[in-house]
């Protein structure tokens, strides 16, 4: 009994005393993924417009300029309000796509925007702009994971 207890105490001390905190470990893991600790990564956005596939691929997406990027999701203040939103933006060779997540804390789940909230530009394709406009119109995004 005594030996088991001593062994248990040794295991606990070795498991805990030499480790960084869990938050620091998660931040370090997060930073190693964004600062080239491993491969720089590739970001890809693919969608279809009337059956035509549009694909945008960006190598080393975290090195894009914050004020002008080709593919990214940024946290910003919605114009004319004090509300924080997330804006998903994609510039492709055929146009651009943008979607605003009306939330101040992006999480896994479904985000939907319908025309009853007012016109919202979502897509430009070969010179034609598309909006969520009619009350019956809607667009939704399903976030399955993020990091």
């Amino acid at each position: 009994m005594r030996r088991l207890l001593i062994a248990f105490l040794v295991i606990i001390s070795q498991s805990s005393c030499l480790k960084q905190s869990i938050a620091d470990a998660m931040i370090a893991s997060q930073n190693s993924g964004t600062q080239g600790g491993s491969s720089p990564g590739v970001a890809t956005m693919t969608y279809e417009v009337n059956g035509n596939t549009v694909t945008t691929t960006v190598n080393d997406p975290d090195s894009q300029m914050p004020a002008s990027y080709q593919l990214g999701c940024s946290k910003t203040v919605y114009p004319g309000t004090n509300s924080t939103v997330y804006s998903l933006d994609c510039l492709s060779t055929s146009g651009e796509m943008t979607y605003t997540f009306f939330t101040d804390s992006l999480a896994v789940g479904n985000y939907s925007y319908t025309g009853i909230y007012g016109d919202m530009f979502v897509l430009g394709y070969k010179g034609t702009d598309e909006y969520v406009h009619d009350p019956a119109d809607s667009i939704s995004f399903n976030i399955t994971s993020y990091s």
Partner: protein, 152 residues
């Protein structure tokens, strides 16, 4: 909290509910569900660390009677944990689970007919390659739903 990067934490608070099943005159199996909150010394923003561990343990009284001084190793799982941290000037909340290991000692005694437990525990939660550690000092009382054979 104790360990790396815990200087900014103030004293925390916690509560637990524990089931005890005697297996011998001197020892019990235990099952404990707890909740602990540790606040950061950051001007009262409410940021800090919260933990909800569930642990199974083996409590052994050193004098063999089921009362008095005891030792109790525990192992379990952190059902829910969240820590606030400042990243690039913004507060981010990191959620985690993790393996829980704990070792404690205490003193079981009676005041009148009320059984009390004065205890000291060291607990570590391991996840994502890091660990959160804390020392707790507690006083609890027991509700009996049965008695040891020696007490009947």
């Amino acid at each position: 909290m104790v360990g790396n990067n815990t200087n900014n934490y103030s004293l925390g608070i916690g509560a637990y509910i524990k089931g005890v099943y005697p297996v011998s005159q001197a020892s019990d199996l235990t099952l404990e569900l707890g909740a602990n909150i540790f606040f950061l010394n950051d001007g009262g923003s409410g940021d800090g660390t919260a933990l909800v561990p569930i642990k199974a343990g083996y409590r052994y009284s050193l004098n063999g009677t089921g009362m008095g001084f005891y030792v109790e190793p525990q192992i379990g799982y952190n059902i829910y944990g969240v820590t606030s941290a400042i990243v690039d000037g913004n507060t981010e909340n990191f959620t985690f689970h993790g393996l829980v290991l704990a070792a404690g000692t205490g003193y079981l005694f009676l005041i009148g007919n009320t059984p009390l437990d004065l205890n000291l525990h060291y607990e570590t939660i391991i996840d994502h390659g890091g660990s959160d550690n804390y020392i707790s000092l507690g006083l609890s009382f027991y509700l009996h739903f049965g008695k040891r054979d020696s007490e009947q």
